[in-house]
Amino acid sequence: MTRPDDRKRELEAKLRAYVGADIGAPEVGEDPVNEPMIRHWCQALGDANPAYTDPERAKRSVHEGIVAPPTMLQAWVLQGIDMAIPGALPMNKQRELHALLSEYGYTSVVATDTEQTYERYLRPGDQISATTVIESVSEEKATALGIGYFIDTRTTFRDQDGAEVGSMTFRVLKFKPSQPPQVATADAAPARPQRLRAPRAHDNGWWWEAIDRGELRIQKCSACGELRHPPRPMCGKCQSTEWESIAASGRGTVYSYVVMHHPPIPGYEFPLPVALIDLEEGTRIVSNVVGCPPEDVHIGMPVEASVDAVGDELKLPLFRPVQ
């Protein structure tokens, strides 16, 4: 039986053979640089620079005529629809390297960095070809996406005279996903990040259900009358487990606060004021102060709550300054 370390050594020996290799024959653009493809690209991306589409204005510019957007560089050699058809593209060293890593379980790929330099802008009629070298393959790295290998390539773009017109370095991570890919369902990652939701359990579900109805409630000990928040099963003062709840007026004052700047957690707006509010009934609640610049929040500030929707599925009591 092969031990995992041997298998990794075997893979890394194979990977080393690719470093420094030309991936194969130059990739040659099917069409020369041309105005219809430039116009289509500018329309799709909303780029109104007349250097790309207005011959008269382009002539009077530093470009002295129509040029292609420099960032279109790679578009002139890409293969189009064949990229979507399994097996349609001929094998080269780059695809071989990706296939090798897939075979060892590093099945996913993501582009992380790219740098392009331009020797000159391209003009209609230029015929572009590209050659690519695999510059390096990293050691195995642990990343947020999963463990994998970074592959760096350098592509040189040349015109019909063989003169270099630009170059590109490209880094991809070929990795084992730390979470298996999801089958396509409505549970796929949300289109927008949502705020974290509190787990609803036996002791606090009733409080969140009230919030869902737009009510801010406070738990009250049935034995001694002490108020408490967040909801919990036993009174901290008299140890009774009998409780009821009262409606909060929502009025209070800022007891203390922080303004969070970092780390920027998806789903929240930053800077984010997080405040401990003294409710007028006599207990405290942690929430956000909204409706004023974060720098205006201060200790003793009178505030008032309203239960608002934040994101698609969550309501929260948020506090605003009392006008």
Binding site: M37, H40, W41, Q43, A44, L45, G46, D47, A48, N49, P50, A51, R57, A58, S61, V62, H63, P69, P70, T71, M72, Q74, A75, L78, Q79, G80, I81, D82, M83, A84, S108, A111, T112, D113, T114, E115, Q116, T117, Y118, Y121, P177, Q179, P181, Q182, V183, A184, T185, A188, A189, P190, A191, R192, P193, P264, P266, G267
Partner: protein
């Protein structure tokens, strides 16, 4: 884009570019991928994107690169010449979100008339893209 354009002697380190908010529609994402001839399925086929754990099609790196170039020439004008675009990608650009682009002049190189602009494009996930664009601007005659 700015009608007059920017001249090299009118730029100093610390200048900021006007913010640009780009609505991320499926049309922009799919249209940008196909206009750059990138037919990788995850950029135009929702089922393929979902099979990778994404909620929908997501923007390809060539469109991001193109929007970064557009953002800089929207500010600098027709006579600007982009020399270099270097970007790092963060969270995905997905339909329904908005990418807000900002830029700051980080360096000016008097000899070549080149300025370096540091750019960022933020969406609801945080930074979609950060990077640097070097652009040659017209010099006084």
């Amino acid at each position: 884009m700015s009608a007059q354009g920017i001249r090299f002697d009118g730029v100093k380190v610390g200048d900021t570019l006007p913010e640009l908010a780009i609505e991320l529609t499926a049309s922009l994402i799919v249209g940008g991928a196909l206009a750059s001839r990138d037919y990788t399925p995850v950029h135009h086929d929702r089922a393929a994107a979902q099979a990778q754990g994404m909620s929908d099609v997501f923007m390809n790196i060539l469109t991001t690169n193109g929007l970064v170039g557009r953002y800089v020439t929207d500010w600098a004008g027709i006579d600007a010449v982009i020399k270099r675009v270097a970007i790092k990608l963060g969270g995905p650009n997905l339909p329904g979100d908005t990418m807000r682009m900002t830029g700051t002049v980080k360096a000016v190189h008097a000899g070549e008339g080149v300025v370096e602009v540091e750019i960022a494009g933020k969406n609801a996930w945080g930074n979609h893209v950060t990077g640097t664009v070097s652009v040659a601007l017209p010099q006084p005659a």
